[in-house]
């Protein structure tokens, strides 16, 4: 085979592939279908909502997982002018104002019957409540018993020498759970004391370090590489992490929502999706697929019947909203960077 014939074959294959890729790209940017984006940890619910919405409305809806919740919010900002997605789920209450300030969201202002008024946390009507649960101290009961240790009850307990190398929480630079931990610590202890606490806690962190998000944390707990975590109470009812229990003295209420992107190519369909996600049918999927509590009182709850109930609940303080990026940056430099 001559070189020119070989080059011709290489170019022919490349032309076919480019045509394929161009067709894919064209479909992605023009096809009438709904692209739902959400954090990796919410994938099961995202897929279930997309599938049910497609079935009921006769459209093509797809869920795309994108890192942790914080990472997703930043990608939404980065791509705000021409997003490849239409609607986002899993937007955390404590990190949504950046989306409003950067004009990423469309605010349809629709009212959905059946969702109690107290569940709405965005007064501007841009982000709609989807689900909620608790972040707190969770621990592997069996592993602690094997080590002869008492379960920790408070944040201060985690600094005790016997927990050195056993604790973790997700990386707040990318993870919504991690940023919730920061918000909780700052709310409970105040900023100055909060940073002192986090720096001391850095000395207690397990060998795995700070996992990238919910899925990674769950995986580390499942394998027993981490014994104590600042994470979801739902680990205590998750069959995948059977030995996990929750310290119920205090917890942070994590609320997440759904919103339409301002520059969505299918905005009307996206608004319909928001309505569906908050309908009884949509909310019925929350508990079985996301181990979270639905915001509608009439939605089905099976898994969460056994969810540990905290004695005191710390609710996000909106006055701290603008601090999230400052905290993440400081955490990146002083805690992750040592």
């Amino acid at each position: 085979m001559s070189i020119r014939a070989l080059l011709a074959a290489v170019f022919a294959v490349a032309v076919i592939l480019v045509a394929m890729l161009a067709l894919q790209a064209y479909q992605q940017t023009t096809e009438k279908r709904l692209i739902i984006v959400g954090p990796q940890g919410i994938s099961d619910l995202g897929k279930a909502l997309a599938q049910e919405f497609s079935r009921r409305y006769g459209v093509n809806a797809t869920f795309v997982p994108l890192g942790g919740a914080v990472e997703m919010v930043n990608e939404l900002v980065r791509n705000k002018d021409n997003p490849p997605w239409d609607v986002a789920i899993g937007i955390p209450e404590f990190y949504y104002t950046v989306l409003i300030e950067r004009e990423v969201l469309y605010c349809p202002g629709v009212k959905i019957d059946g969702v109690p008024a107290e569940e709405y946390w965005d007064a501007r009507g841009c982000v709609y409540p989807l689900d909620k649960s608790y972040i707190g101290i969770v621990y592997n009961e069996t592993a602690l018993a094997r080590l002869g240790l008492r379960p920790p009850e408070t944040l201060d307990d985690l600094l005790r020498p016997e927990y050195k190398g056993l604790v973790t929480y997700p990386n707040p630079v990318t993870s919504g759970t991690g940023l919730a931990v920061l918000s909780w610590v700052m709310s409970v202890k105040g900023e100055e004391e909060g940073w002192r606490h986090l720096k001391q806690l850095a000395g207690q962190i397990a060998k795995v370090g700070y996992p990238s998000g919910f899925t990674a944390t769950r995986n580390a707990l499942k394998r027993g590489d981490v014994v104590v975590a600042l994470s979801w109470f739902s680990h205590a009812i998750d069959p995948g992490t059977p030995h996990m229990r929750a310290a119920t003295s205090s917890a942070f209420l994590y609320r997440e929502g759904v919103a339409v992107l301002k520059n969505s190519k299918n905005r009307d369909l996206a608004v319909e999706f928001v309505k569906f996600a908050l309908s009884k049918e949509g909310q019925d999927l929350v508990d079985p697929y996301n181990y979270m509590l639905p915001v509608r009182p009439d939605a089905k709850i099976e898994n969460n019947k056994g969810l540990p109930q905290p004695q005191s609940v710390v609710v996000y303080n909106p006055a701290l909203g603008s601090k999230a990026d400052e905290w993440r940056l400081r955490w990146q430099r002083e805690i992750a960077g040592g």
């Binding site: 001559s2 070989l6 170019f11 294959v13 997605w85 630079v173 996992p211 990238s212």
Partner: protein, 471 residues
């Protein structure tokens, strides 16, 4: 003849446009805070330490290269394997030490030490035999003999030290996989542009990154390249003690290579690997074909005496890839997440490297033969009909290297397709940095598979029967 200059001119414009877009968007101001200064200082310090350690490792390997040439392919595996595969292997080999400040230096020395050895060995073999014989006959003290040899090796030492300094200064995947605790400027651009997109922190890095690139490129233009690898009539003599020490250093590389491939013994996540693997090959095949087209257009331009292709190579070699990726993102954002945007970016980044591989072979063709060909057929027909056949094996080798290079690429994939079509390298990085034990183990397998693919392609490129013009 001007029309033949248009393709490289267009290429150079397309390559530099992302940087101008960044300057237009963020301004040409230096906004430096204490943390940024620390990162800048760390980037420079680790690059200098990496270059020094790579030189030490390279010099330690040279006696083995001379006495036992069969060790070369093995020691060069960490250099030719994707950076993520080598770092992953080193993390498994050295554990927590790699997450400390010296981890990045050790990783760079393991990649670039064998490369330095190759450059120095080539220089060593170019020393005239009569000089070596005279030194053996008339110089009694071993230290004096060594001084004479090191004086001859100066070009290789300087060149390899500076190129390793540049490679290490622009390091991205290594500090990312080492936990990001000690970031380089390249990694900080990525972190600020993605995880802190809600802020405008990246604006402060644009000017600093571009100024650093310019500062790195200028000395590169002045440092003479080391003499080419021409086997000497007799190899320089290597005593038993240096050979034994060198074999010890080589043994370490055998251990590293074992760790690069050992995850292949425990396959994981094979089903989930299919789609990213297909995506990687789709991008690699299209980008490498486009690279060949660019290459031929550069040769056409070369044939009419244009210096533009050579200038393009010098401009591109030291520019920040993270900043390029960020600028390219702003330039082609409507295609974000698609494989098409990745193909275009890979073509722009890999083409200058490919040109640097073909250029020496092109220059080996006798100048009168080139001129006659251009005169009678015209530049375009000469290159596409005659030169492409003459340089055929080199072009095929370069094509395979371009595919391997595209498969290994991570910076562009992470910046341009997160939340869209994933490539195998991006997926491996995502798994390896997740800190989830199961996912990390799957990441080990992916990184080993990627190394196997890249090295198989490079090995295939060495099997092609060369012609006198081949690389």
């Amino acid at each position: 003849m001007r029309r033949y200059v248009i393709p490289p001119l267009f290429f150079l414009s397309a390559f530099t446009l992302p940087y101008f877009i960044l300057l237009a968007r963020y301004g040409a101001f230096l906004r430096v805070d204490s943390y940024l200064l620390w990162v800048f200082a760390f980037t420079g310090a680790q690059a200098a330490a990496s270059a020094a350690l790579s030189l030490a490792v390279g010099l330690a390997l040279v006696p083995a290269y001379v006495r036992f040439p069969w060790v070369k392919p093995v020691t060069l595996v960490p250099f030719f394997a994707p950076a993520l595969s080598t770092v992953d292997a080193l993390i498994r080999l050295h554990g927590d030490f790699m997450y400390g400040p010296w981890g990045i230096v050790v990783a760079h020395a393991v990649y670039y030490g064998p490369y330095v050895a190759l450059v120095v060995e080539s220089n060593l073999r170019s020393i005239p035999a009569d000089l070596l014989e005279a030194a053996d006959l008339y110089v009694r003290r071993a230290t004096a003999r060594l001084r004479i040899i090191f004086a001859e090796l100066r070009p290789a030492v300087l060149y390899s030290f500076f190129t390793v300094f540049i490679f290490s200064f622009l390091s991205f995947t290594t500090p990312l996989l080492l936990g990001g605790r000690y970031p380089t400027l390249e990694l900080l651009v990525y972190i600020y542009a993605t995880s802190f997109a809600s802020t405008d922190l990246v604006a402060g890095l644009v000017s600093l990154g571009l100024l650093s690139s310019a500062a790195l490129a200028l000395p590169l233009l002045r440092i003479p390249a080391p003499p080419p690898a021409e086997p000497a009539p007799r190899a320089p003599a290597v005593g038993p003690i240096p050979a034994a020490i060198s074999l010890g250093a080589t043994a370490y590389f055998f251990v590293v290579v074992f760790h690069v491939f050992s995850p292949l013994l425990a396959p994981r996540g094979v089903d989930a690997m299919v789609q990213p693997l297909f995506n990687s090959f789709a991008v690699a095949l299209t980008a490498s074909a486009a690279v060949l087209l660019v290459l031929l257009s550069f040769l056409v331009s070369d044939s009419v005496g244009s210096r533009l292709p050579a200038l393009t190579y010098v401009v591109t070699v030291s520019l920040s890839k993270s900043l390029f990726a960020l600028g390219f993102f702003h330039m082609a954002q409507p295609l974000y997440g698609t494989l098409l945007i990745l193909t275009a970016a890979h073509t722009l980044v890999i083409a200058p490297l490919a040109y640097s591989l073909v250029k020496p072979a092109w220059e080996k063709i006798r100048i009168d033969a080139r001129e006659a060909c251009v005169l009678y057929l015209g530049p375009l027909k000469c290159v596409t009909r005659i030169i492409s056949e003459a340089l055929g094996p080199t072009l095929v080798q370069t094509w395979l290297v371009a595919i391997a290079s595209s498969l290994s690429e991570t910076t562009l994939a992470l910046m341009l397709t997160t939340g869209g079509a994933a490539t195998l390298s991006a997926e491996a990085v995502r798994l390896l940095t997740s800190r989830a034990p199961d996912l990390v183990e799957t990441g080990h397998f992916y990184s080993a598979a990627l190394a196997l693919l890249a090295l198989a392609l490079l090995a295939a490129s060495r099997l092609i029967k060369p012609r006198p013009y081949s690389i």
